[in-house]
């Protein structure tokens, strides 16, 4: 699996547009800025929904109304954030594929997606009972707290990708780092 990802990343990096994207000062920075600004839209609106589900804000507004009204702009933000994220990956594919932070981020993104899906399903099934309650049931609050925690961790991992602390070949990398990042055996330890 790792070698498949790495082969794909190497193939991507060999494409002229990948290096063009990375070396283009304005294009790369515009994409990165768009990634951050769409993060503000998507995570910002997600925070509004999660804070309501936690029962700490907008308690006098039905929970379902907040969730439904904000879902479209939130999904638009997530889509744009995802697309700009793919472009950022495509600009530096090999190093990113071998970044432990990127790998943690992908795992956390999958966990956040599963949590969102379960949360949505649970909300649709039970909302009638607590829609106008200032404090939603414990399971709902747990899912909202988990969502905020997962996304906070995703933001931290995303920020850390830019740093080379654990890049393959860094002296002092532990066995775990070399294994988790799938570093080539001769990349030093």
């Amino acid at each position: 699996m790792n070698s498949l990802f790495l082969r794909f990343a190497a193939w991507l990096e060999a494409q002229p547009w990948s290096s063009d994207l990375h070396s283009s000062f304005y294009m790369y920075n515009w994409i990165e800025s768009a990634h951050v600004l769409t993060l503000v839209v998507s995570l910002g609106l997600l925070a509004v929904v999660d804070l309501r589900m936690l029962g700490v804000c907008w308690n006098d507004i039905p929970a379902s109304r907040i969730a439904k009204r904000l879902s479209k702009p939130m999904l638009l933000g997530f889509t744009l954030m995802f697309l700009t994220g793919i472009l950022l990956y495509a600009a530096i594919p090999v190093r990113t594929t071998q970044s432990i932070w990127f790998r943690f981020k992908v795992i956390l993104l999958l966990a956040a997606a599963i949590n969102a899906w379960l949360f949505h399903r649970h909300m649709n099934a039970s909302i009638g009972a607590w829609d106008t309650a200032p404090k939603p049931p414990r399971r709902t609050r747990f899912a909202a707290g988990l969502s905020l925690g997962l996304w906070a961790s995703i933001v931290i991992c995303g920020r850390f990708i830019a740093y080379d602390w654990f890049d393959c070949g860094q002296p002092g990398n532990s066995v775990f780092v070399n294994w988790f990042a799938a570093c080539p055996v001769d990349s030093g330890s």
Binding site: F25, N29, E32, S33, V36, L37, L39, V40, V41, L43, G44, L45, L46, A47, V48, L51, C57, W58, D60, I61, R65, I66, R69, L70, P73, A152, V155, I156, G158, R159, F160, A162, Y163, W165
Partner: protein, 158 residues
């Protein structure tokens, strides 16, 4: 008034040296800054888009903006604290960066607008305000904070 000695002093202070020497500290503060920016963005989008009658139209605007203002204040405090920490590590670089000054100017305008104009206005009964006044407040607020976020992002690139 030349502010360079102030910025140099900040960067050479124990706080500046700590932030600069510990790369992980700076990165972690950056991440918290980004999360607070997201919360600030969410509270502004919910409140201002409601004022512009774009979103949550079936909820009284007063309810939306009151809740939004609470989280705007919390996020702003976190942003100011983490922003000061980040600044202390790269104060001299920021002093010479035009985008830093654009961001600071826009931020001051944004804070003054939020607390001296927007809040007192929205504390009144919204039904007594003209719809275009509410829309104008929403547009102005979002525009100023968009400049703050975009120019802040560009500080790192220039």
């Amino acid at each position: 008034m030349d502010l360079l000695p102030l910025f140099t002093g900040l960067e050479n202070s124990p706080l500046g040296v700590f932030v600069k020497d510990k790369g992980a500290t700076f990165a972690l503060i950056e991440a918290v800054h980004l999360m607070a920016l997201a919360v600030l963005g969410g509270s502004l989008l919910a409140g201002d888009l409601r004022l512009m009658n774009v979103m949550l139209r079936d909820v009284p605007s007063r309810k939306v903006t009151d809740g939004a203002h609470t989280w705007f204040k919390i996020a702003l405090i976190v942003l100011l604290i983490t922003g000061f920490f980040m600044l202390s590590g790269v104060a001299v670089k920021c002093y010479h960066n035009q985008y830093f000054w654009i961001k600071m100017s826009a931020m001051v305008i944004g804070i003054v607008f939020a607390f001296a104009i927007k809040r007192p206005l929205l504390n009144r009964d919204h039904a007594t305000l003209r719809p275009w006044t509410l829309k104008a407040v929403g547009i102005a607020s979002l525009s100023v904070w968009l400049i703050v976020a975009a120019s802040g992002r560009w500080i790192g690139f220039s």
